[in-house]
Every structure is written in C-alpha cells, then in structure tokens.
C-alpha cells in the first residue's frame, strides 16, 4: 500500500519535472511539495511523531476555519441557517471569491476563547449544521460553483436533542449529497478529522490534509476507553491506529498532504493560509474541465475502492 502511494507520487513528480523543461513557471514550489510528501512516506512515522500530530492538531493557537476564510478569499458572504429549524454556529457556510471565482464554502469552526467555544459548541455540529451544509452543497450544484470544505471537528455532537433531530441520518445524507454533486469538490482536514462528523463533509474529489492534522474513526481517548478500558492509554491507542497524515496518504484515504510552516501552522497563520491556498488552487486546477458526470463517477469509484480485505 505504501509502495502504491509512493509510486503515484513519483509518477507525478517525474511528470512535473518534464513540464519544467517546457518552461512553465510556479512549478518549483510544487516540486518541492511533492518531494516533501515522498520523504514523509519514505520515513515511517514514529509513535512520538504520531502523538505530536495529535497534540498539534488540537493546538489552541492553530488557525481555525474563519482564520483561513479571511485569508483565502478576496470576499466572503456568510450564509446562515438550515431553512428548517436553526443556524448551527459549529458549521460556517458561505460564498467566497477565490482568484476572482465564486466558490461555495463549508467549514467547521471551533472557538478561540471560552465564549466563542461555547457559541461554536467546540466545533461539534448538530444535525442542523449538516443540513445547512447540504443546503449549500445543493446551491453549489445548481449554480455550478466549485465546493471547498474545511474539516475540523472532534466529532458530531453527542446529545439528546441532536439524536432527536436525527444526527445519524443528517450525516448520512450529507455524504450522499456530496456523492451526487456534479461540481468539483475539494475537502481539507485542517485540524481534527473526527469520525462521522468529519466524513460528512469530506466525500470530495480531492481530499487534502495538513501535515499535522489527524483523521480518525475515533479519538485516541475514546479508543483507549473502549479497547483498553483506560483513558490513560490514549498514546498507545494513537500509536496503534495512527491518525497522522502520512498514514492516511499511505492508505489512499487522502490525495495529498498540505505542508505547514516549520513548527506547525500555529506559528504563522498567514504562511499556513498561503500554503493551504496553493494546494486548494492546485486541486481545483486538476479537476478543471472534467464534466460533472465524470467527476461524480470518479469520486464514487475512488471511495468505493477504499478498504483492505481478502
């Protein structure tokens, strides 16, 4: 599996090298990025590095969705509400201008200070949040805008009201809607890609992940509680299921790793946003000109091929 990912990267790298001979500009950064991804795969991530990712993915100074929105887009108009019941502040949706082009946007927002954290429910969406997302996905599809989603959530909110409002069904339908879209879609995990709450917004043509983000079926703490019956074994759990970006790339779960500034995105928000914008732009370029039916077919084929079985 690791070899496959490595080969894919090597192929892209050699293609790009040839292009450079044709005198295209702006490729050296891309070359550097691919080389770095190769290095990441080649060097098996150690247990300490995995745990470092877990810590950095949850770092308090890490840029959140709105930090990127303000740096990524020339203009942004926020859209509120699921048109049925409520406006969930854990999910931010809107229309942005990226290089002069309209892009539909959905992102999960944690809070920076105590007050905002409570307001954003720590980035844990209610079904209303996923319904708001669905509404904006459908808008994008109707009007032909590419869709960008940023994933950063410990998970969908586990509460009595959330269940009564249909949390499971909302997450299922959010994925189903993404599987139907006839426009280019790019998702990026920018912090915690927590379980069902994350995959609800990540069934995209290109799935990216920042270098120190994590993507997992359960939090290390949750896994430790269930399998080891001891929350203190979180490190052990993380080492066992490896939620780090290199591992996700190895398994084909994501398509590329977005580099972070040295030390992590929390050290330089502007540079982090610049690097993210670069990867997002490149992903949309790769998808440009592919007809909607073909996008949909390839997207479904990609996800239907995921898994390891005999």
């Amino acid at each position: 599996m690791a070899r496959e990912a490595e080969l894919r990267l090597r192929e892209r790298l050699s293609k790009l090298r040839q292009m450079r001979l044709l005198g295209r500009t702006g490729l050296s950064a891309e070359l550097e990025r691919l080389q770095r991804q190769l290095d990441l795969i080649a060097a098996e991530t150690s247990d300490e590095e995995v745990w470092r990712s877990v810590e950095l993915a949850r770092h308090e100074e890490r840029p959140y969705t709105l930090d990127y929105v303000e740096r990524l887009f020339e203009d942004f108009f926020e859209l509120h509400g699921d048109r049925t019941r409520a406006d969930d502040a854990a999910v931010v949706t809107g229309l942005g201008r990226l290089d002069g082009q309209t892009v539909a946007f959905i992102g999960q927002q944690k809070g920076r200070d105590l007050k905002e954290r409570a307001h954003r429910n720590f980035g844990m969406a209610f079904p209303e949040g996923y319904r708001k997302a669905i509404r904006v996905m459908e808008l994008a599809d109707r009007l032909g805008f590419p869709l960008l989603t940023l994933v950063d959530t410990p998970g969908a909110y586990p509460g009595v009201a959330a269940e009564q409002h249909g949390q499971g069904g909302a997450i299922a339908r959010s994925q189903a809607t993404m599987a139907r879209l006839g426009v280019a879609t790019v998702a990026c995990v920018i912090g915690e890609g927590g379980s069902g709450g994350a995959i609800a917004l990540a069934l995209a043509d290109r799935v990216l992940m920042q270098e120190n983000a994590i993507y997992s079926v359960i939090s290390p703490e949750g896994c430790a509680t269930i399998l080891w019956r001891d929350i203190g074994e979180a490190r052990k759990a993380a080492a066992a299921f490896r939620p780090d970006a290199a591992h996700s790339l190895e398994l084909g779960v994501i398509d590329a790793i977005v580099p972070e500034p040295p030390g992590g995105v929390q050290t330089d928000h502007d540079e982090a946003a610049r690097l993210l914008a670069e990867s997002v732009r490149e992903s949309f370029e790769e998808l440009e000109g592919i007809p909607g039916d073909e996008l949909r077919r390839r997207r479904r084929a990609k996800f239907r091929a995921l898994g390891v079985f005999a």
Binding site: G159, E163, S216, G307
Partner: protein, 275 residues
C-alpha cells in the same frame, strides 16, 4: 398506586444467560425461542437474531443463494489492543459460523425477488470494517445487475475500530454504493434491528427509500453511555429507541419481527411496480 420493581437490573455475579429476557426475566429453552423468532412470548422483547436465522426467517425456502462468501477481513494495521485483531476475527468466525458480520445474497420474499444484506451482531458487535463495506457494496451491484430491490437488515455497533481510518471510509464507500443504486432506480428497504448505531446509522442504514425498525431497537448516532458522559444530561428512558425515532419522523414504521416477512413482501410488491 405505585408498584415498585425490586428486581435487580443486572444479576449479581456475572452475565445474564442469553436466553433470559433482559426485559421481564423470563427464561426460555433454545427451541422455545426458536419457534417464537427469538421474540419473548411474555413481553415481546426482541432477542438478537443471527444472520443465518434471519435469512431463514425472511427468505422463501430454498430461495437464498449466498454471494461473496469468501470475502474476509484483513489486518491492515497489525492491530493489537488487549488481544490481536486476527485472533478476535478467528474467534468470531468460529462462534458465528460466518466469514464476516454481513451475509449477502439473492433471495425471494413472498415470491418477490430481491437482494439481501443481513448483519450479525454476534460477529464483533456487527462492526463495519473493510469486508462488511465491500460486501454491502457488492450487494448493491448485484441488485442493480439483476434489477431487483435491495433489503438490508442492520445490527451493528458502528465502525470496526481495529481497522482504524479504513473503517471510517466504509461509510462513504457504502453511501456511494447506495447512490449508484438510486441512480439505477433500484428500490432499497433498510431495516434497523437492535442496535444500529454510530457509523452504520450515519451511512447506508439511514439511506433506504423506506426505513423500518424492530420494536425497541436502539438507533442512535452516539450511544447512551457516550451521551451521558459527554453532556451529563438526564437521558429519557427510551433514548434513541425506535419508538421516539418514529415520533420524530426518522423512520417509516416499527415492525414486530413475526410480521417482518409479510410486511417486506407487501412493500416489495409496491416498490417493484415502478417504471
């Protein structure tokens, strides 16, 4: 007037016998439960039902032909918690006689041809790993190829943690398979048995054209324990059960197990009438 229930909720010193009703404490012999479709004759509690017993109960005699029987889980992470994942798999296979937590195949119910995908909770809590995802995905393709409706019976605690992120990816995988089914205009009836939680409820199990549940089936995204611990909310007694879910509009009907074959046959009759 108040009638106090003094029975202990958990019998002291160990687990309850599998044939003792957790709801009314009546105890049955295997054959007594068998003839009652594993529904308590006293209080109608629905005991867990294995996948093979399900198929025997639902499918017309001799109509079931199993598919993808050889699909087995692998151990992509070399996962080892208190015991190796491979050891758990072998044990589950020995105790259930199944290769995985899902059984798929062609069948007929009340004379209506259909595709069946039936889960077994006894196989590692019915958890969905790569093999279950693949089997469900193939069941969708079979239904499309043969032009017959798909009926799934879910019974699962959610994703199989031992397969890490790949188990999470079985959610979008099965969702994409259902979308292909929808595009082919093939009907899909999803039945939720106790329990259908986590990644199962948040993927294909919620995407049926018609959603049915067995009485009392727990169908919540987050389990009651997780909700209690995270929110410290007082949970309603029927938290996440089929009955409130019907009230809140999340399912179409609650069908007692003895009526399930006839109900499915009726529905298949309606659904196979489309152009």
């Amino acid at each position: 007037m108040s009638i106090e229930d003094k029975r202990p909720s958990e019998p002291p010193g160990g687990k309850r016998h599998p044939n003792t009703c957790p709801s009314c404490s009546s105890h049955y012999r295997d054959d007594e439960l068998e003839v009652a479709y594993r529904v308590c004759p006293q209080c109608s509690f629905h005991f867990p039902m294995g996948a093979r017993a399900r198929v025997a109960h639902l499918a017309d005699p001799g109509s079931f032909s199993e598919e993808a029987a050889g699909v087995r889980s692998e151990d992509p992470l070399g996962f080892f918690d208190l015991r190796p994942y491979t050891e758990r798999l072998v044990e589950a296979e020995q105790s259930t006689g199944l290769g995985e937590a899902m059984l798929i195949g062609a069948a007929a119910i009340g004379g209506h041809a259909c595709q069946l995908a039936v889960m077994d909770f006894a196989f590692m809590g019915g958890s969905m790993g790569s093999a279950v995802g693949e089997k469900f995905s193939r069941a969708c393709d079979s239904a499309i190829d043969r032009g017959v409706p798909l009926v799934s019976i879910a019974a699962s605690g959610g994703a199989r943690m031992q397969e890490g992120i790949l188990s999470l990816m079985q959610m979008p995988k099965t969702v994409c398979a259902v979308e292909d089914l929808h595009d082919a205009r093939i009907a899909f009836i999803s039945v939720l048995a106790n329990p259908t939680t986590g990644g199962l409820l948040a993927s294909f199990a919620s995407l049926g054209d018609v959603l049915l549940a067995e009485p009392g089936a727990l169908m919540s995204f987050a389990g009651p324990r997780v909700v209690q611990q995270t929110t410290r909310e007082k949970l309603p007694d029927d938290f996440g059960r089929a009955e409130p879910n019907l009230r809140f509009g999340h399912i179409d009907a609650i069908v007692p197990r003895p009526e399930l074959p006839a109900t499915l046959a009726r529905l298949l009759g309606f659904l196979s009438d489309g152009a």
